[in-house]
């Protein structure tokens, strides 16, 4: 057992070190995240009637601005990228190295992913704390300690779910030799369906009900609404339970796709 922990702990360390190697890029990606926040804040400020308890899509003005800021940061934090490396390993035959070594490819990728996210979470946490402090001081954004703790738990669930979702997407590489921009296309759709651009209520009752039934909202909208105080802490338990069910279902789907995919895998000339 301790061997397993040591083995995957080292993989976690690799991810952690990689994230430090590209820290400037990560910092710039935060600056790039400012654009959608500025654009959407300007849009909502113009749409809401000033000084009223106006509701749009079920959000008051402060909640909507908080949602915009937090959802953009969460969306950056849970973002994956390992699917491209997975595809390269499948396409170039590099995967065979892992098939003969005493290490599981799934465990390796997840440890590296979580390692990279550990460092990013610290930086995101600091930016988020600063943003929340500004919103509390200038907009009267209400913040509760219990909501922060529940939010931290929901981020762990979001990371896990996003990893499993993009593992499924990465497995497509076993069937398609030319992936091209498919991952990017899927990513955009998933972010939209997760509430990463706008809250899901903009899709109307039916659209929201359909998207609520899918796992995507647990990766961005669910953590964001917890921190915004729109999902009370005592009501979050049912959300966690549903997210847990999706994690189990996706883990089974991942295993199925991987087993079917590996049977098709041919590492010619590698």
């Amino acid at each position: 057992m301790s061997d397993v922990i040591a083995k995957y702990g080292r993989c976690f360390g690799v991810g952690l070190r990689n994230s430090f190697a590209y820290r400037i890029n990560f910092a710039f990606s935060f600056l790039a995240a400012l654009s959608p926040v500025v654009i959407q804040t300007a849009l909502w400020t113009n749409l809401y009637k000033p000084g009223s308890a106006d509701l749009l899509f079920g959000f008051n003005y402060v909640q909507m601005i908080a949602y915009t800021v937090i959802a953009n940061l969460v969306s950056r934090l849970v973002r994956t990228g390992f699917e491209y490396e997975m595809n390269t390993d499948i396409r170039t035959g590099g995967l065979d190295r892992f098939l003969v070594k005493p290490i599981g490819y799934f465990g390796f990728r997840m440890s590296v992913f979580l390692g990279a996210k550990a460092a990013q979470t610290v930086l995101t946490g600091m930016v988020l704390a600063a943003a929340v402090a500004v919103m509390t001081a200038f907009l009267g954004f209400p913040l509760h300690g219990a909501a922060v703790a529940t939010f931290a738990g929901s981020i762990l669930v979001a990371l896990m779910l996003n990893f499993l979702i993009f593992w499924c997407v990465g497995c497509v590489g076993f069937w398609l030799t030319e992936i091209g921009f498919l991952f990017e296309a899927v990513r955009i759709i998933i972010i939209t369906a997760s509430g990463g651009i706008f809250p899901l209520s903009v899709f109307g009752d039916l659209g929201e009900r359909i998207l609520d039934a899918l796992p995507f909202r647990f990766t961005i909208q669910f953590p964001t609404e917890i921190l915004c105080g729109r999902i009370p802490v005592h009501e979050a338990a049912s959300g966690f339970a549903l997210a847990g069910a999706w994690i189990a279902a996706l883990a089974l789907l991942d295993r199925f796709l991987w087993n079917r995919g590996v049977r098709r895998f041919a590492a010619v000339g590698s």
């Binding site: 400037i24 890029n25 710039f28 990606s29 600056l31 790039a32 995240a33 400012l34 654009s35 959608p36 500025v38 654009i39 300007a42 849009l43 400020t45 113009n46 749409l47 749009l56 899509f57 398609l176 030799t177 030319e178 992936i179 091209g180 921009f181 498919l182 990017e184 296309a185 990513r187 955009i188 759709i189 939209t192 651009i197 706008f198 903009v202 899709f203 109307g204």
Partner: protein
């Protein structure tokens, strides 16, 4: 004058050949072509979401009705065709050309180096999707407003679209000309790319200061808001004059920056 016209004609002929070669190369990798189109459709959905928000909110944005917002978003989508399909990929690939020494090859060709380096590649799929969707959205918005598209309006709109495309090219070339000094401008590219989205909403939402900066200092809003304002018959004389001057001014500035940057070029293969 005749020599200048001859030179322009020559470059148009070369551009037509480059477009043909790019189409042939895209057809060679059809999956990439199809997935590239899927990705652009994904981005298109996100852009159209802003229209959905305006309609579902049922309110005007800074004095513009949802039907007028469609004209703005449509123009933004149309010009994204020029941005993503014609020049963006060339500008973002510049660091790669310099790092692997291929830039030397371009220098030896008997055509303008700036032309060849910044218009070499194009993506007809992305261009057609965005331009078609943009024209449909603008026509839809204008027809819902009951505006007739007479010849003067169409020609004026086409002029400001061309002016916007020229300003966009210049604005994105200026920061990329730093590549000759910095060698890697990936972070700058990511940051400037995120600025493109500022045009997803009418420029009026950014307030007086934001509008002034976006029109006269970093003229992002000249790119897509000016054609839309003209189509809606809400363009001031000052903006019309600036819409004529800005492309000349910023193309000249971009040319100066390019030449100044080029003096710092050192061959990677030498």
């Amino acid at each position: 004058m005749r020599a200048v016209l001859k030179e322009i004609r020559k470059h148009f002929k070369i551009y037509a050949m480059l477009v043909r070669m790019n189409i042939m190369s895209q057809m060679e990798y059809r999956a990439n072509f199809v997935t590239g189109m899927m990705m652009e459709i994904g981005y298109l959905i996100v852009k159209i979401l802003y229209v959905v928000v305006a309609y579902r909110a049922g309110r005007s944005i800074a004095g513009f009705t949802p039907d007028e917002v469609i004209v703005f978003v449509g123009t933004y989508v149309l010009l994204t065709g020029f941005y993503a399909g014609v020049f963006m990929m060339n500008l973002f690939q510049l660091p790669g050309l310099i790092q692997d020494g291929s830039f030397d090859m371009l220098m030896t060709k008997p055509v303008s180096l700036q032309f060849l380096a910044t218009f070499r590649r194009s993506d007809i799929g992305i261009f057609l999707i965005d331009v078609t969707a943009g024209i449909i959205l603008v026509s839809l918005g204008l027809s819902r407003l009951g505006s007739s598209a007479g010849l003067p309006r169409v020609l004026g709109y086409a002029f400001f679209v061309a002016s916007g495309a020229a300003v966009g090219y210049a604005l994105y070339l200026i920061p990329q000309s730093l590549v000759f000094r910095l060698l890697n401008t990936a972070s700058i590219a990511e940051l400037t790319d995120s600025f493109w989205d500022f045009n997803n909403v009418p420029m009026i939402v950014y307030g007086k200061v934001g509008k002034f900066i976006g029109v006269f200092v970093i003229p992002m809003f000249v790119i897509t808001s000016f054609p839309a304002l003209f189509a809606l018959g809400r363009m001031s004389v000052l903006y019309a004059i600036w819409g004529i001057i800005a492309p000349v001014l910023f193309l000249t500035l971009a040319r100066v920056c390019w030449k100044a940057g080029l003096r710092h070029y050192t061959s990677a293969s030498g």
